[in-house]
Symmetry: C2
Subunit: 213 residues, 2 copies
């Protein structure tokens, strides 16, 4: 138990799930505070004082520094707890994992966020996370759905001849992409049956302890 850290989580949201899976895969146990996104707790003064960007995940370090996104949390944890490596072992593997993680963010997570945040009535005026309010753009929700379909194709093509996105080992890129595929299920976007490599990869990851916490 890392008693000198605090993890700010929300059990129902996709972005903090990425950090939560990373923490479990590292075998770490960090005191966790749930932030109630459904009641906009992230926009309140208390949480804003912790993370001015008003987003989870966040990780408070022993020196008081608050890391406020998945990029920083993953990098920090990989550095202080190198085993098992989730961000690669040699320069090329590290680069390939960084690239697939970025693809999963830009072509997957962002497309899904666009789909959800520009269509759900409960998110009117909240089309982006963070302290600023932006109106929904319905055309963006439609585009997002098309992009998610393309993202599934990218994943499946890669997984036909690689066990994991980064190569032969599970990595942070698999975490990000898996969370996106699960998130897509919220709006019934699911990989078509012909994408067998993607479906098998998803089934295998869903059985890891980190996917069930």
């Amino acid at each position: 138990m890392m008693e000198d850290h605090v993890f700010y989580d929300c059990a129902t949201a996709p972005s903090p799930r990425r950090a939560r899976m990373f923490i479990v895969e590292k075998g770490l146990d960090i005191p966790t505070v749930q932030v109630d996104l459904r009641n906009d707790e992230q926009l309140g003064d208390d949480f804003r004082a912790i993370n001015p960007r008003c987003t989870v995940p966040a990780l408070k370090l022993p020196d008081g520094t608050v890391l406020g996104d998945n990029a920083s949390i993953a990098r920090y944890l990989e550095e202080i707890r190198p085993a098992p490596p989730l961000m690669g072992r040699d320069p090329v593997e590290k680069a390939v994992i960084a690239e697939w993680n970025a693809v999963a963010e830009s072509d997957g997570l962002l497309a899904m966020a666009e789909t959800i945040r520009n269509s759900l009535p409960g998110l009117k005026g909240r089309a982006l996370t963070g302290p600023q309010n932006y109106e929904q753009i319905p055309a963006l929700a439609e585009r997002g759905k098309a992009r998610v379909g393309y993202f599934f194709e990218l994943l499946n093509a890669r997984l036909i001849d690689h066990a994991y996105l980064g190569g032969d080992r599970f990595s942070v890129a698999d975490i990000t992409a898996f969370v996106v595929v699960e998130f897509a299920g919220w709006v019934k976007l699911v990989p078509p049956g012909r994408q067998t490599a993607l479906i098998e990869w998803r089934t295998a990851i869903a059985q890891r302890p980190s996917a069930n916490k």
Copy 2:
């Protein structure tokens, strides 16, 4: 000169500028091929065979691997040429730099790309980079401009009490944010005069050799 690598660049575009600056800051000299984005060379069969994502920057490695985005190229170069460090020296610094680089991408570069790609007549039907074609969404261009203004505020607030975004040393986060600020100038989005910390930081970076190549 790293004769066994090939850097695919486009001298006029913001994204490859990030990699180009990184290469120069590392003191590296890599054989470079210009890809003519204005004539859609990135969408042609020849370049598609190199980077199926049809984007620059890309970096071909001695083993034939092609790294196809800034995330992978920066990670690879930081690993093979650790000095000077551009991605941090200790776990906390590495994390903070990763976070500011991600902020510069999501709140800065993405907002600028939305502004440009959803408004320029020459980019009709090409609202996103990559092999897929998407129509422009004018509302997204408007939102992008507002977001860039907020991004400038974020940068200025950070730079009031830090010489660089990651702390006291120049890093990849400064490269990304600097390229965004310069990119914003294309559409006359410039930091207002009261943002003196941001303006001083920009002026200093503009004088580095890496900003002039």
